[in-house]
Symmetry: C2
Subunit: 777 residues, 2 copies
């Protein structure tokens, strides 16, 4: 864009003017005053028309990510009752993916193909399918206390389970069911090198699932924590190398692993240490009254590294449902567990980046407590306890362990850390605010109102040894009036806050359109290295090559009694085979392999009315099954708009009824197309080839090899064009034999491959034009 001539005259103004109006400014001034195209608006006009303030346009500029550019951070939010994980970019706050974890989800075909059903089936409980989950606390795998971007762990609070997502392909790979708890909350949290993934119970119940009446709450109901062993090599949790620790029935809640100074330890808080049992319907005050009667609850301080050693010793654990549990007496004897009073009804327990302090807020206490790990260690070493709890666990006095206590506001809940030493952010639920404060000197620095009722909050790498600062996300529990209304069930609101400056600044309101996130973690986007395709024939849920991998030319339909198995392939724009004939009552199994190598060339597959649905990313092999119990004609097709001829990527399953008597009929005559039709089609092919040649010329005359996306497109186009040779040759052979009908059709298929190649080539050409590719010799 040119700067208008008139602007130069400002250079004749005073010195003070000159100071402001340097060349760089001129370009921006031009932006304000000169429309980009003749009739377009200036920025000034846009602000006026849209009623935007100066603060708004700054926020817009801080969050807008132009086409093709990338976000700086990638966030993983739990999806609450949706059972999913939500992936979004920061600062654009655009949602990039919902990953189905505990719920069947048809777009990803999760729980639809046999391979993913096998993952969901790992999560069955008491013989029942559990078709949802209450995901709460995602955790990214860590190396040396910082996120490494390899795996994501997520819990199900309602049906105590943990799942593993591989960030290589963003798919759920494993679900484990807690062998001892009836519900959980405080998971997932990972140790500094992802040796263990931790989950803590929520509501006390007899360990292992036994029945016991509420009258035996104190005797038989228990809490606990589980340390799931993670095997990074295979990317799976190992139940046989995992263990739990029995704890009092205190409604254990969130946890955190120690780091650096506090390495080897973990911290778990609790609420309702009153052990109150409600019963409004019986005339007793409700749980909410009795569970908040005392001023403090208990923080559990656990030596997990030593506990792992104890769990490995014979006779030190009790096997419950085949799972090792360190019972309380052993834990106390071995010095594995201590209690410290903590503020009333706490939620987050958050170890500082250096591991020196543990910060805890109680939602019904307006102070946030900072505990000193040094003081806690000293108390444990000196056996300086103020007493024991009813189960014999030593209690370290609050004042003995406390570093400081800071009044931040009402309903403090969760704390995250800044890249700046000593700076923390705490959510204030009742106040609907975020507090920025100094946890070393115990000083409140700033507060920012949010909308509304913040639960957790999150800074970039904010719970690691190396927080990145920059952005904070406020996970608000109520949106109320923030967005265009969409009925009584509201989206949630995640607010992006700029924390780079001295004051916090609200940047963006993001509605969450599905699910209720509880906690979120965000990783530097450059640490994620996901793949775009699989090795051909991969069972993506196990990572192994499927025995049903099928290459082009290997497609087949086989029958064994009433079992029909199909090995087929998917490629732009046909499914092989195209006709599947079975008999009423047959059990039909269809194994499909996507032969594509090009990025984003996913194909889908469905057989109508048979609840058959699948999604095949490039290279994937997966299996769908149905029993052909209803006779009739059932179209199948590709459910992904994959190419111009996508609608023609179709076929039929024919289910012949028992006792069907054949009627006479014939397909369209084989002499429909004549020599003239054939020649017309060949002419079209030759003309299309001219277009392709010109596009190829354009591309190869430029430095296209400097643009990796274009190199990928050229590979794809070359492959598609390569496929054209077969039909082209068949067409010529049929024409030579005088079979012009068949020749015309094969020439048509030759043309189809040309169209696909042209489509890809044109995308490559546009890319080069838009990215300033240069002509080369």
């Amino acid at each position: 864009m040119e700067v208008k001539e008139g602007m130069d005259s400002t250079r004749t103004g005073s010195d003070r003017t000159r100071r402001f109006l340097r060349l760089a400014t001129l370009a921006l001034l031009a932006l304000l005053l000169v429309p980009v195209t003749t009739s377009a608006e200036t920025l000034q006009q846009v602000l006026k028309r849209r009623g935007l303030s100066q603060q708004d346009v700054l926020a817009a500029a801080k969050t807008y990510v132009p086409t093709g550019k990338r976000d700086e951070y990638v966030a993983f939010a739990s999806g609450g009752q949706s059972g999913m994980v939500i992936v979004y970019g920061i600062p654009s706050m655009r949602i990039l993916k919902y990953i189905a974890v505990f719920n069947p989800e048809p777009w990803q075909a999760y729980g639809f193909d046999e391979e993913s059903k096998a993952v969901l089936n790992q999560g069955r409980i008491n013989g029942k399918d559990i078709t949802w989950g209450d995901t709460h606390h995602p955790a990214i795998s860590e190396t040396a206390g910082d996120y490494d971007g390899q795996f994501l762990f997520i819990n199900d609070k309602a049906n105590p389970r943990l799942a593993v997502i591989d960030l290589h392909d963003f798919e759920t790979k494993q679900i484990v069911v807690s062998p001892v708890f009836q519900s959980e909350h405080g998971g997932a949290f990972v140790s500094e090198n992802t040796e263990y993934v931790m989950e803590a119970v929520q509501y006390p119940a007899p360990l292992g699932g036994e029945y016991s009446p509420l009258e035996r709450f104190n005797e038989d109901y228990r809490g606990g924590v589980t340390y799931w062993k993670f095997n990074r090599e295979i990317g799976r949790l190992e139940p046989k190398n995992s263990f739990s620790m029995e704890l009092p029935p205190y409604s254990q809640d969130l946890s955190d692993f120690g780091k650096l100074a506090s390495s080897g330890w973990s911290f778990t808080n609790s609420f309702c240490s009153e052990r109150y049992v409600g019963g409004i319907e019986r005339g007793r005050p409700p749980f909410e009254a009795g569970c908040s009667a005392k001023d403090t609850d208990y923080l559990h301080v656990i030596n997990w590294r030593k506990a792992a050693q104890v769990a490995a010793q014979p006779g030190k654990t009790k096997l419950i449902n085949g799972h090792k549990v360190i019972m309380m007496d052993t834990a106390i004897q071995e010095g594995l567990v201590y209690l410290i009073p903590e503020p009333k009804s706490p939620h987050g327990v958050d170890v500082t980046p250096d591991g020196d302090y543990i910060v805890i807020s109680g939602k019904l206490d307006s102070h946030t407590y900072v505990y000193s790990w040094k003081k806690i260690q000293a108390a444990m070493a000196a056996k300086n306890f103020e007493g024991k709890d009813p189960y014999g666990i030593p209690i370290i006095g609050l004042q003995t362990a406390l570093h400081t206590q800071v009044p931040l506001g009402l309903g403090p809940l969760h704390t995250q850390y800044d890249s700046k030493k000593g700076i923390a952010y705490t959510s204030l639920y009742v106040d609907s605010m975020v507090a920025r404060w100094d946890y070393i000197n115990g000083k409140l620095l700033d507060r920012l109102p949010i909308h509304y009722n913040i639960g957790h909050l999150m800074t970039m790498h904010g719970d690691t040894v190396k927080p990145r600062g920059k952005y904070l996300v406020s996970l608000n529990k109520l949106a109320i009036d923030r967005f265009q209304p969409v009925g009584p069930l509201h989206p949630q609101n995640h607010q992006l806050i700029d924390i780079a400056g001295d004051n916090m600044q609200l940047l963006y309101d993001m509605p969450l359109p599905l699910g209720e996130p509880h906690y979120t973690v965000a990783i530097d986007a450059t640490l994620l290295k996901p793949a775009v395709r699989y090795k051909v024939g991969t069972n993506t849920r196990t990572g192994e090559i499927s025995p049903h991998k099928t290459r082009a030319g290997e497609e087949r339909i086989e029958r064994d009694g009433n079992k029909v198995s199909v090995h087929g392939t998917l490629i732009r724009s046909h499914i092989t085979p195209e006709i599947i004939e079975v008999d009423e009552g047959d059990e039909v199994t269809i194994h499909l392999t996507n032969l594509e190598r090009a990025q984003d060339q996913t194909h889908g597959f469905t057989v109508s009315k048979y609840n058959v649905n699948g999604s095949w990313e490039p290279g994937k092999t997966a299996t769908v099954k149905f029993t052909a119990d209803t006779p009739g004609v059932f179209p199948f097709y590709c459910t992904e708009f994959c190419s111009a001829l996508h609608l023609e990527m179709q076929g039929y399953v024919l289910v012949k009824p028992k006792g069907y008597k054949a009627k006479v009929g014939a397909l369209m005559p084989k002499d429909q197309y004549t020599q003239a039709d054939y020649e017309k089609q060949v002419k079209a092919c030759n003309e299309t080839q001219t277009v392709i040649d010109s596009v190829v010329g354009f591309i190869t005359e430029r430095n296209y090899k400097d643009f990796p996306p274009v190199v990928a497109l050229v590979e794809d186009a070359t492959e598609q064009l390569g496929y054209a040779d077969g039909p082209k040759q068949k067409a010529a052979e049929e024409a030579a034999a005088g079979n012009y009908h068949s020749a015309t059709l094969w020439a048509g298929q030759w043309w189809q491959y040309q169209v696909k190649a042209a489509d890809i080539g044109l995308r490559a050409k546009t890319y080069l034009e838009q990215h300033g590719a240069k002509k080369v010799q």
Copy 2:
């Protein structure tokens, strides 16, 4: 913000300078150069740091919607294989809601509570649950040809079905199964006053689901269209008043209703009018080759208004599966259907806002065809036909009907209209572009590259009699490199384009994180009037008051043999009842009513390990069921973070095993709390009351009644505080009787209600502070 003094000196510059630097500009200059807070960045610094161009900041300013402000338009996108509808705001492109339609979805509890299961069960086919759908074409209900914002219709292509969503609460209310088709595509489309909702078949098959071999394709396989009668009063489709028309096996595709000039008619296109049957595995060229061999396919022109009259006459229809079908012979005899050649492999058929023209693009023809309704009418009146198709349907000659033919580019697909007369936008799939053109004068005006491979496109009210112009959304089928990678399965990309000026300008790339949208419709946001609560006790799926509506005090647990039924309530922060004791094998039914009236106060409910999950918006009554086949202790809790004491909104289902022998035990002693505890709690209550009084004082001293959201908050706070009276009184009574334990707990419950009231009051106070409320006398 203040303008720096230095700026004024520019006024001493030349006249030309003065022309540019008027006062309004100064404020903006200040924005560029002066940070908003001391240490914050200027806009100029932000642009430099983030590498944004002038075009980028303009686009950011055109799309950014600040906190609490609303989007101008609301879009409803189909979700493809996800089975859902996606709701998003324009221009912010923020997704506001996923509405589950054909798939069970746990966040909304769709398919989890009995009431919504009843809706999903309407969509069962051949005795089978269909747990997904392939949603393609949403349609908003219309009045006089323009969107009225009352209902949304959406189809399932795979398992031919249609669903009705009520935009009063954005919930799916009805699913109907096609009684005649095996798959469909061309739905939903609505007539000008939503008399009928139309769907057309996709892949031909014998009507009604009979088996017939592919060798009888020409004789037995058929296409067709269905006109579903809509009853706006009850908001439901009426199968008994609906009818279909048999059509040739031409793979009918999309449709459109005529409007104004062409009122009473509908238009349906087709592909594979070759009636080709593929079979690669049998040595035949694939469908994609044989289905694109001819240069043209057929547009079906149907007189639906007359057809409705014919369908009502005795003897004029054939009943197939109880559904009226006008067979082809009757349709031809009655002059209900005509064919016109149309460009090869078309997708969209789009009637212009005045109804005068019909625009069709064939993906394998680089021309877009504009048909003249006047010419078509004249040909029909004069019986000016060029022949008949093999089934006897009269064919109007292409040149007879054509207004003009415009070469727009490669792979043209779908057309939408501008508010400016005669201006249309057409997607170009192969070219990856949008074309702006003049359909009256047949002139291409502008083309804009998109990323990548656009399918449908959409302008605001772009298929109505009154398009609004302003924005266009390009629904791209491939995203490839646009976003931070998230594995082999990519999000889709919807690109927002500014069409207000003379040139199209790309504004925003929106990733679609779940599902594959095919078509989208967008309505002026002010035309939507969704509710925020239900009448207490509403079965939201039927709109009727549930027989299981339960008010406070009516909660009860009843037993009839092995059937246990619970009538309970949900309110911040307890579930009544809190303890549910049943025996192993009992069938347990839990009816819950959310007593809340406050906006966004949804509660959830789950019983752990029993796959029980539900969502209760304010006023809703819904039912969950399970068989207590596994003995044990199963916590239940509210799954929505609804209040500070959300975690304490809990209870237990106890399933007593057969033959259980009681053990001795007792809850916590009833003398835990003393007079001192009681007095401490009362002191806390009194202190909290002081806080509340000061907040109340702040609010009532201001013109809070001018702020409807604050009025709602005050009502909610007053209600919560009202609840405090009961426990307060109980506490006093118990204290008077010397029962200090019980008195302390009840005083605690009094305090819980105070905390909720304070939370709401503080939100109201902040709102007034942020919105410049004034002190009143």
